[in-house]
Every structure is written in C-alpha cells, then in structure tokens.
C-alpha cells in the first residue's frame, strides 16, 4: 500500500520555476564569478607562514630586547649629516601645516567575511593610499612635505539578500 501511495505521489510533477529564476541565478553566478565575491570561511583561512615568521621574529626581538637604536657615535654622525624631522621642525619654528593629501591608488573588494560577534556577514574592502603632509615656512616660503603609504581595511555590513 505504501508503494502504491508513493507511486501516486511521484506522479505529481512540481511546476517548473519561472524562466526568470533560472536566468537570475545564472546571472548571479556569473556576476559573483567575475568579481570573485566568494565567501571566505574562517575555517578555510590558511596559515600564513611568512606572517607567522615575522610575528615570531618580532616576539623574539621584544623578549630579547635587541637594541637597534644608533650608538652615540653614529647619532652624532647622523645629526651632522641629515637632521631628523623633529630636529628640522624645531630648527624651523616658522613652518606651518598647509595641507594633507590622500591619494587612493588601490581599492580591493576581498569578498564576504564573517567577523566574530557580528550578526551577519560583512564585505571586506582593502584600500591602499598615499598620504602627504605639507608644511610651509612663513618667512621664506620654503615647503616641506612628508609622504608615506597607508593601508585601510573596512568592513561593510551587508544584508542577506
């Protein structure tokens, strides 16, 4: 009797979903494939041996208290050769900050992540920038600029859609 009933049930064919659904899913797969927006699962993170090595080296240096600061002798040489920024600023009190420029030269979407303690997934965006500070001497008009690269990681919460 069960078999008979099962056969009756199997004769019922579910309605085919709309063609729009099929095309929507194909498009979603293609879009996600192009942007590489695959979810990064925490358990799939691989050990970064280079990072681990650097961290170990840093720990060793902290524990061993290795002093890389220049000796008195080299300090004197440096002072005479190239004065540090602080020394320069101290020597030039008339310098006034005139501007800060941030140039974004790389912005990479690293996909979805699940931060600990968060309610939902977030999109991780890594931005590489170059910041430049400028000072100007009020009297002579001479300019001083300091430029350095920075990296910023932003987590943007996303909905489950």
């Amino acid at each position: 009797m069960n078999e008979e009933l099962e056969n009756e049930l199997k004769k019922l064919r579910p309605v085919r979903p709309s063609a729009e659904l099929i095309s929507r899913v194909e498009r979603a797969l293609a879009d996600a494939g192009e942007t590489g927006a695959k979810i990064i699962r925490p358990e799939r993170f691989r050990v970064n041996w280079l990072g681990l090595g650097l961290a170990a080296a840093a720990t060793f240096l902290i524990l061993a208290r290795v002093d890389f600061r220049p000796t008195e002798k080299t300090k004197q040489t440096n002072v005479s050769a190239t004065p540090s920024l602080q020394q320069k600023a101290a020597a030039l009190p008339n310098y006034q900050a005139t501007g800060l420029t941030q140039v974004v030269y790389s912005k990479r979407d690293e996909g979805l992540v699940f931060p600990r303690g968060a309610e939902g997934p977030s999109r991780r965006v890594r931005t590489a920038k170059r910041e430049t500070f400028r000072w100007r001497d009020r009297q002579s008009g001479a300019q001083l600029a300091v430029s350095y690269p920075t990296e910023e990681v932003t987590l943007i919460p996303v909905s489950g859609q």
């Binding site: 199997k10 064919r13 659904l21 899913v25 797969l29 695959k38």
Partner: protein, 163 residues
C-alpha cells in the same frame, strides 16, 4: 569538501533541482515569487561557500534557513504565517502540474499533513534525498526522518484512497 564543479555544472544542477527546491521552499512562504527568491538566495550562497555540488542535504538546509530568515525579516509576514500555521497547521498548497481530481485530493491531503511530516515527504519524493541526507538537512536522526516519512504516508492513507 572542495568545489570542483564547473560553472556549467552548477547551471545544469540548478535547472534540474529548481522545481523540487521551489516546492520545498513553498512550504514556508506564501507566494511562488517569494519561494523563488528564497531558492535563488540559498543556491547562490551555497555556491559561494565552495561546497560540493553533490551535498544536497546542505543545499536543502540552506533553502530552509533562507525561507525562515525571510519570514523572520518581515514581521507582518511572520504574523501571517503563524496565524496560518496556527489555524490548521498547514502551508501553501504545493503547486503541481496538470492535476486530475484524484491528484487534487492527494495534494489536499498532503497539504493537511503536519509540517515536519510534509517536509520529509517533499524532500524524499520530489527531491529524491536519502533519509541520511534528510536527517542531515533537518538536524535530526535518520530514524526520526524515516519515522516522519512513515507517519506522513500513514496519515495520507487515511484521507486518500487511490482510484
């Protein structure tokens, strides 16, 4: 499990599984459009997680989870669902192609099954999952899945006599 299926494999897989998945999703949501949204959301999420294309238990668990999320997100919808399930413990009537009178009677009987039995029947009959896969998708033991299936069939038998 690493996903080694090609893009084409996933498309074929979806077109084959979509009718059963939409039918499965329609147990929780009222409209076919909502069910399709749920299936799309779950399938794309499943694909993004690099899971094996053959892991149908997890795919069904994802559809179930997406459907319940949808209900939770929309409070009004949730209240409506609770009212509907509370009244007669039944969901939207599953949609099947070309029903004759006897089949309509069978679908009506299926529609009146308790939800836990009906979802096992839908997974087993129209999605062709094994009891092991059903158990994994629902987070129950295989024995429980098999029992719900048997109880479901027994309940159907009481209300439906094949002609």
């Amino acid at each position: 499990m690493e996903n080694v299926a090609t893009h084409e494999d996933w498309k074929v897989c979806f077109s084959e599984l979509a009718p059963g998945l939409v039918l499965f999703a329609r147990q929780w949501v009222r409209s076919p459009a909502d069910a399709e949204d749920v299936v799309q959301d779950a399938f794309v999420r499943f694909w993004r997680r690099n899971l094996s294309i053959k892991n149908r238990a997890l795919l069904h668990a994802a559809v179930r989870s997406a459907a319940l999320d949808l209900i939770r997100r929309d409070n009004r919808r949730a209240r409506r669902e609770v009212e509907v399930f509370g009244e007669a413990e039944r969901s939207v009537q599953p949609q099947f192609e070309q029903l004759d009178d006897s089949q309509r009677q069978l679908v009506a009987a299926l529609d009146h099954l308790p939800r836990d039995q009906r979802e096992v029947l839908v997974m087993k009959i129209w999605n062709e999952l094994t009891f092991a896969e059903i158990a994994e998708a629902l987070g129950v033991s295989q024995n429980t899945a098999a029992s719900r299936y048997r109880y479901g069939l027994a309940a159907l038998k009481k209300t439906f006599q094949p002609q």
